[in-house]
Symmetry: C2
Subunit: 503 residues, 2 copies
């Protein structure tokens, strides 16, 4: 599908000149993959100029999830964000958010598109979407992510396209664009396996709404991951051993179930371990993101198919994919995040969800977002979409951080994103805590004995072993004593429960 | 459908004699409606006899939700529970749970049936199910609830029926029994409106599994609710005004959306207010429980249809329903709790969920289960099933309790069941806090100014107004100071943040 030119070709600066102060813009991008690049950078430059003239200029920034530095970094450094939602992972933006300078709404990623349609985020005026090709009829082939681009184009008054020659037009066929109707007219999402398709390979928009095309040639700003180390390797192996035993016990079907896996080093280690474990059959993924490791697992036959909303791989791996595109188009589909993360599908397919925690408490509650209760790391992302509806929901984290000065297992999480009711298994480098069919006191013993670092086990037992007060024997007076010890002397070890905050 | 007698008619005592120590039993009952009565009472008596002989005798008790006193009360008082799940509201049982004497697993109610099928709860050996009739072919007409009875009969080795003559066999047609297949074979739940049916009016079981019928004639042990008072009335009116304004603003479709409403006095007041508000059209319900107030609203035409899993009405109202059964069978369906609470349907239909909180914090997190962080009240019930997938999720509570000594709005909830990400609107007698599109600091101001009692507003502002530390300006050192003030001097008022727990 060649890109036609009856739609005006404009520069990024010309595109940015169309934007007004306080406009809300929906940008493509789910991770740096497929994120708009030139236009947000030009908007940031425009904002700096306006600010230099003493004029206000800030825009509402709505995306699929995190993006690249040319979007979140540039706009943050230009102080050009009125608000930001639903997720970010940008260092400069994070600093502003944690200073209270930029409003950030942390949202479940599957709910962002419907919130935009329902009008809960205000009027989205422009969609700025990266494409591999666009036709005069308004048929857009997206690039390495779908995210919420379909919804932004649907709800926006006007659309600006970044036509990025770094991506081949032959990407057509990788995507499956389906957008549900809103209640009371919504029907089922007609997907019954990871590889089913129910939508269109192209995003169809009203061509009248496309007011300009900006041509560019820039790679996705995807960074690399650290190599698997001894700790992440043990976490991965523990997950694989647990799942293999569940298959053997008949609590997971012998044909296995689709895997959802978070993003990052632990996720890479888990997927690697699943691939290597001889008792785990080749599997399918129904997840948000296809990372580097998945590409290797497709080559080896360990991953049979992957459904996601973004292909977030490093430049050399993307080159490999593009050189063998037909092989990967048979094994991969990119869907809107509303579908990749849809609770209906997660529950129907019986997905095994594996997500990373910042910290977990002894009752099984999970902190996914805030360091020491105050400072946002990235956001909840899709972890809630998957966790809440999974066949089995698993959270992973290393048992300690900062060389042992932080125990990730604490009496009470300093911020709670996933409550005990939605967490079934906790895995660290130390072992596996199976929380199913256990009451809070039993969960506390299981988590401390199986998952906490040995150096912290006695201290954690001392917190709750003698408390006989209530179904959840929590002591509010000392629940955060380990966090406070870290904030005061940079070490969680050696908390003395009896003297701390004595009445 | 007459009940045939080739299945042995036995006494409750004979039924109880079949049960062994450590058996896991699935009992009918979702609220006291439709709960098994004679057999659990006989099992409790058996347990007491065994204990008197010095022999161990405890059973695993799995139900739909809460039950009546002849089940939870009798078994608790006989110390006959090995464990209890997924929900309870029994005073004697609650005391045991909060002493740590009885293991209780608090579960999302929609997940209980699949957890039983997946084997996550252990082997359910017996199903004990109340029925209005049973045929030789194994066709059972249930009574005032479905709950998880269909699943218990499906997974159990053997079934015992309590044939309760208090319920007419003409109930046939009130129920719609549909049980999904498990992954990887699960399909969509084919419901597209509250009144759709996709299953069978009778529960079909293998007749070989029915080993006995116990005949009885006992009413459901449903208590009454307190009358609406000035506080609950204002909460109800605030909800109705908010929803009417959302319709006017176009953020809720003008035909309105189905209502889910929790159980209790506030829920009664909310439903009453929705019925009375001229700007709210007649509506449908997709909820767990049909309470007394819904029956009146059906008579008045304000409620057009109600889908639920239990008909939990007081004895005089049940009499009224049974005397006009055809009228109500046209306006009501009882489904398995797996379907009444199914996330897929909740999201598809766009349900407006309205649930009651024990307390809320200034960031929008909700405590639904634990008083002062330790003591279980009832359980999370279905609130998470609905909240997490609602079109708009609303939580309600009075702004103060204990004559003003407790503020239900606190710096940090002492137990967290629903995180900020899944809570969109908070309503108290003071007003409505709309949390959509607000960051944590904005939510804190909105909640304190709109929902907190005036007597607590300055104190709550003092907690966070001057804190500039982080996206969520929480202070772990003092986050529970109001709770501790109540525990120490029975009053949350007058907390001095500066001196409290000084470093």
């Amino acid at each position: 599908m060649p890109t036609v030119t009856s739609i005006p070709i404009i520069t990024a600066t010309e595109a940015a000149a169309l934007i007004n102060d306080r406009d809300i813009i929906g940008f493509s991008g789910f991770t740096p993959a497929g994120a708009a690049k030139d236009i947000p950078t030009a908007i940031a430059a425009r904002a700096s100029e306006e600010h230099a003239q003493g004029r206000p200029f800030k825009i509402g920034v709505v995306t699929g999830a995190s993006t690249g530095d040319s979007l979140d970094g540039e706009l943050a450094r230009a102080n050009a964000m009125l608000f930001r939602t639903p997720y970010q992972s940008c260092k400069d933006l994070r600093v502003q958010i944690n200073k209270g300078e930029t409003c950030f709404y942390d949202m479940h990623l599957s709910m962002l598109p419907q919130a935009a349609r329902y009008g809960f985020l205000g009027k989205v005026k422009y969609a700025v979407v990266e494409a591999a090709s666009v036709s005069e009829e308004g048929e857009i082939v997206l690039t390495t992510s779908v995210g919420a681009s379909n919804t932004f184009c649907n709800v926006a008054d006007k659309i600006l396209i970044e036509l990025n020659e770094a991506h081949p037009a032959e990407l057509q066929g990788l995507h499956d664009i389906y957008e549900p109707l809103d209640p009371p007219h919504r029907r089922e999402i007609p997907l019954y396996s990871c590889s089913d398709r129910c939508g269109s390979p192209v995003l169809k928009v009203d061509p009248e709404k496309i007011i300009g095309i900006v041509k560019t040639n820039r790679p996705d700003e995807v960074g690399g991951f650290k190599d698997t180390d001894e700790v992440t390797k043990r976490i991965g192996e523990n997950v694989a051993i647990f799942l293999a035993e569940e298959i053997k016990a008949g609590r997971i079907p012998k044909e296995f179930l689709p895997i959802q896996s978070g993003v990052g080093n632990i996720a890479n280690a888990v997927l690697g371990a699943l691939g290597e474990n001889p008792n785990i059959p080749p599997f399918e993924m129904y997840s948000e993101v296809v990372q580097d490791s998945v590409i290797g697992l497709m080559r080896s036959g360990d991953v049979k198919f992957a459904s996601a909303t973004s292909l977030t791989v490093s430049p050399p791996v993307l080159k490999e994919v593009y050189e063998d595109l037909e092989f990967f188009k048979q094994r991969m589909v990119l869907r809107p995040q509303e579908i990749s993360n849809h609770p209906e599908i997660v529950r129907r397919l019986g997905i095994i969800s594996i997500n990373t925690a910042i910290e977990a408490d002894i009752w099984g509650n999970i902190n996914s977002t805030h360091v020491m209760g105050n400072n946002l790391m990235n956001g909840i992302g899709g972890s809630g979409d998957f966790t809440r509806n999974a066949y089995i929901s698993i959270f992973t984290c290393p048992s300690v951080a900062k060389g042992g000065a932080i125990s990730t297992i604490v009496p009470m999480v300093a911020h709670l994103d996933h409550s005990e009711h939605s967490v079934q298994v906790l895995v660290t480098d130390q072992g596996v805590a199976d929380l199913r069919g256990k009451d809070p006191a039993e969960r506390a013993r299981e988590i401390v004995d199986k998952c906490a670092h040995p150096e912290y086990r006695d201290q954690l037992h001392a917190y709750f072993d003698d408390v006989k007060d209530g179904h959840t024997p929590q002591t509010l007076r000392t629940a955060f004593a380990m966090h406070e010890a870290f904030m005061q002397k940079k070490d969680m070890r050696g908390v003395d429960w009896s003297s701390k905050y004595s009445k």
